[in-house]
Amino acid sequence: MIQAHLPALQVIIPLIAAPFCLLIRRSDLAWAFSLLVTWCTFAIALILLLQVNETGTISYPMGDWSAPYGIEYKVDLLSAFVLVIVSGIGSVVMPYARLSIEREIPWPRIYLFYTMYLLCLCGLLGIAITGDVFNLFVFLEVSSLSSYVLIALGKDRRALTAAFRYLIMGTIGATFYVIGVGLMYMMTGSLNMADLAKLMPLVAETRTIQAAIAFLIIGLGLKLALFPLHLWLPNAYTYAPTVVTIFLAATATKVAVYAFLRIIFTVFGNVPVLQKEFMTDFLMFLAIVAMFAGSFVAIYQTNIKRMLAYSSIAQIGYMVLGISFISVAGLTGGIIHIFNHAVVKGALFMAVGCIFIKMGSVYIEDLAGAGKRMPVTMASFVICGLGLIGVPLTVGFISKWYLILAALDKGLWPIAAAIVGSSLLAVIYVWRVIEVAYFQPAPEGAETRSEAPMTMLAPMWFLTLASVYFGVDATRTINIAETAAAYLLKVIQ
């Protein structure tokens, strides 16, 4: 019985758990409760993925109102994959969160953190599961509003301004998205994604729909931090509490990429929107600028968190680049990079959190001797740094391999060269950290060896090992990504 309602439970459990957290108030109980909830959502997501793999797309009418009229929850392979990523990161972060949060958030506010965390998780899962464009907006706002609060919890006062700027830009992005949805509704009278896809060919050539496409792409572009719209991201990631940075960097922008895929390839699946030469070229251009600009700026950062934030902008460039190829190989690369980057960036930010808790700094120059003082943490940082660069036997290699294949397929060898070139820039910024940590002697009087506690090291190493495991044996993730990509494109061809 309960199995039939899993799609609803996936979202409703964290949604209902959040206010309970508020009532619990005691920080350790709130933590244990949230831990249980996140692990529940992860289990549900895994079951859904297995179900979809076996029986195909699951459609769940919310409240038994049937599809085009009621809100439909739709779990296909791509959404199940994103659900697993989001809830997986959400549950791996929880054991890590406890000590890190105690250090970075004043004690009386800790239970509020867990409330907001669960709400944010709920919003992100909702975006991934819903089959209704307006429902997607509601979840987008649930996740955004809670993430503004999470960012504002940072200790530094600049966290407040970062959150405020994100609020302004995020709200503009979401409002643009609603305008796009409204314009689509004017022409089709529907909000259901599958229904919209059916009705779209009749009205695709109207000015109204063209305006809708523009609003949707800009709105979601703001949310996923596509290159010229990325300005909110670096400060938000730098000044937020480390746990928040880990969670948002690994999930929030990825979910926005997912929403982008949904709109382009499901809602406008029967209409060649991106296929117009101008659009692909434009997206490809922005993606490549993002890859280089993000990496270049990352090289000159002194704050590791900020460096990794700029690197995130570059990595989002890779995902958008994969989308802009509009081929199965390209989309596979883009989708698999969503997973790979979530794992790698999650682990890297966790390493930064471990360094911060022991050394009290996130600046590169203070890292001298860290290789000797925190060998376990730094080893993880190095492995994941290699993954970020895309060295063989790490996950980064798999996604870049597919992207390069896709570029060569289309005969675009300069783009393949650009992918390699921007990876070399990643070598530079990862190397800057490694050089200071391993080749500069520790300052006098520093502790000889001190690692972060086990509860923080274990989640970090879990993600690190995952990044190696899925780099060596990527058949499973590639299968999912490839099938999802083919599924998205089949509608077009």
Partner: protein, 117 residues
């Protein structure tokens, strides 16, 4: 008549641009939130206008009424209004904390303080 028939939409565009302009140009954070509100309200009006049909009544079951407006956009915008209120509340709460932390709510002065530290 065409221009007059689209009167609501002209208002929507004017409000949208006014709000957007305020958000971009004003340095005062409260004014930015006001601009954001105007921007969002224009979208509310846009949704409400689109469901109006000339000569249609309110979507209530009464005798003799055959033509009625679509109630769905109204419901949707009710949700969007709630979201807008939440955003405004959060934005203002952040401004209060920014005022405490920086002693000012002018964007350029905050930036000057940030680049000093």
């Amino acid at each position: 008549m065409e221009v007059f028939g689209l009167f609501n939409y002209w208002i929507v565009i004017v409000l949208m641009m006014v709000g957007f302009y305020i958000v971009i140009t004003q340095h005062n954070l409260v004014k930015k939130v006001v601009g954001l509100n105007i921007f969002q309200v224009s979208v509310f009006i846009f949704y409400i206008s689109m469901s109006k049909i000339t000569g249609g009544t309110a979507p209530i079951l009464t005798e003799g009424a055959t033509l009625y407006g679509n109630p769905l956009p109204h419901v949707l915008i009710l949700t969007a209004i709630v979201v807008g209120v939440a955003t405004t509340a959060l934005g203002l709460a952040l401004i209060v904390r920014i005022q405490k932390a920086y002693g000012t709510i002018e964007d350029d002065e905050i930036e000057a303080q940030e680049s000093e530290s």
